[in-house]
């Protein structure tokens, strides 16, 4: 069953000013429950605007967003309710931390949702556990944490609202390689347990190809492609013409295939490539 359906969605910034710009242009798309969707696109392709329309932070100029079959703007006064269902983690979310302690900051969302103290305590601790924040850190000021810990605390603040759809706008940007690995693993662990729909905006094709079930490619406000990572990254030329690239390992394998080596198409990870190459060498009797 599709959890979110987007119909003819468009958004134009600064209508009737010299700065008028069409950010999202007539997008039609459907997402299934429990899917992990990757969203890629060049800077200024309308990704951020698009995801902000999913939880009603931006009101579309035209078109509709249907959440479980209902238009989210049906009752504009109740748009806040949508925000608890579609959680949104912005780029560099650590800059939105404000409360005295990490615990209080994470509880901001659940408190706005109107939960009682017991429920708040439960969800806060659960969310902190998902992102690997210890109890000791919960009582610290968010401004005393390290960069990676701040990021995880901010993400916990959104997870604590227990949303059915979780949108993450470049959650790993600016983290060191190990921090990225850990955060990705935590998000996937959370997804496995909660089984909700996850929206993952990223510039890292490696991350996208590893975790996404389906990938949306946006270019100049339009939805250009929507398919499995394997099918998307098989079209190297089209992807590169939009200012994007395919995972490095995919590119290497594609180039090897072009030179006549008998490898399968659509290799996305280093592990896959490794076993492919080992198989080829075995077939040729080298090892």
């Amino acid at each position: 069953m599709s959890i979110i359906e987007v119909k003819d969605l468009s958004f134009t910034y600064g209508i009737n000013t010299p700065f008028e710009k069409k950010a999202v242009d007539d997008v039609n798309v459907c997402f299934n429950e429990g899917e992990v969707i990757g969203l890629i696109g060049h800077t200024g392709s309308g990704k951020s605007t698009f995801v902000q329309m999913l939880n009603g932070l931006i009101k579309p100029t035209s078109g509709q967003v249907l959440l479980e079959g209902k238009d989210i703007w049906e009752k504009p006064k109740e748009i806040r309710k949508i925000r608890f269902k579609v959680g949104m983690v912005f780029q560099y979310p650590e800059y939105q931390l404000f409360d005295e302690t990490v615990y209080k900051d994470i509880s901001f969302g659940p408190r706005n949702k109107g939960l009682n103290e017991n429920e708040i305590d439960l969800t806060v601790r659960k969310a902190a556990k998902f992102v690997g924040l210890s109890d000791k850190l919960l009582n610290k000021s968010p401004f005393d944490l390290s960069g990676g810990e701040k990021r995880r605390a901010a993400i916990a603040g959104v997870i604590a609202m227990d949303p059915d759809v979780l949108v993450l706008d470049e959650p790993t940007a600016g983290l060191d390689p190990k921090g990225r690995e850990v955060l990705l693993a935590q998000i996937m662990g959370y997804h496995k347990e909660r089984k909700n729909t996850i929206f993952f905006v990223s510039h890292s094709m490696e991350d996208i190809s590893r975790i996404a079930d389906r990938v949306m490619v946006m270019n100049k406000g339009r939805l250009e492609m929507f398919d499995t990572p394997k099918n998307i990254f098989a079209q190297v030329e089209k992807i590169e013409s939009m200012g994007l690239r395919v995972p490095q390992i995919t590119k290497i394998i594609t180039m090897l295939r072009e030179r006549g080596y008998d490898l399968t198409d659509g290799v996305l990870t280093v592990e896959q490539a490794f076993s492919e190459v080992v198989n080829l060498l075995k077939r040729e009797g080298v090892i």
Partner: protein, 270 residues
Amino acid sequence: MTRDIALGQFIPGKGIIHRMDARVKILLLITYIVLIFCAFNFVSLGIVTASVIAIILISDIPVKMYLKSLKVIIVIILITSILNIFYGSGDPLVQFGIFKITLEGIYRAIFVTVRIICLIFISSCLTFTTSPTDLTDAIERLMKPLKIFHIKVHEIAMMMTIALRFVPTLLEETDKIMSAQKARGADMESGGMIKKIKAMTPVLIPLFVSAFRRAYELAVAMECRCYQGGDGRTRMKVLKINKLDVACILVTVLFLVGVILCNIFFAAKI
């Protein structure tokens, strides 16, 4: 929402006013402000209003932008004009208790409204057509004589440049933080005054934190480029007065003389 603020925004263009020297623009703006407050009867007010409209039309900026800049201060205009209606002396036209409306009061209200609108339009014209850097450059040059009194002209101008430079950045940042907190269910629209102010804490704290961080980063970046104040600094764009500027000055002087003559030959209304 912060995108809607039109006051004090630079809009690039190639019109006559865009090409004028920023120093001349500032001096002419001051002249115009004097002009607007020198108009004491309907003829001179008419001349001033007509010239302001003419300036708007030749400024290569959509008239809509000017109207938008009024939006912010419409309340101030309404309050002052309503107060002025009751303020005049003389025979009352209508009287309710201690409040009376006189002909002079009505005149005052009309004058005040027209004056404020002209004032906003003409000063918006300056900010619409002049980039913030040109503006502060010009202010620095105009204030240069104050150096005799040991006033740090360059430092003041640099602070203004930086402040102006960061207005859009901070607005954008405010927008972003507000969206982020709204995404966490923050309710900033409903409730009374106190509740609304309280609801702003989750926005203001991160905003202050990031403003200080930016200030620190900027200071480091300036130091890295060996910035050490104004002495011996040269400019990439040197301001120059050309024929167009001289022509504009002459036209403005003509208006000034016209308004003074009107004031002498026609009776003052207020």
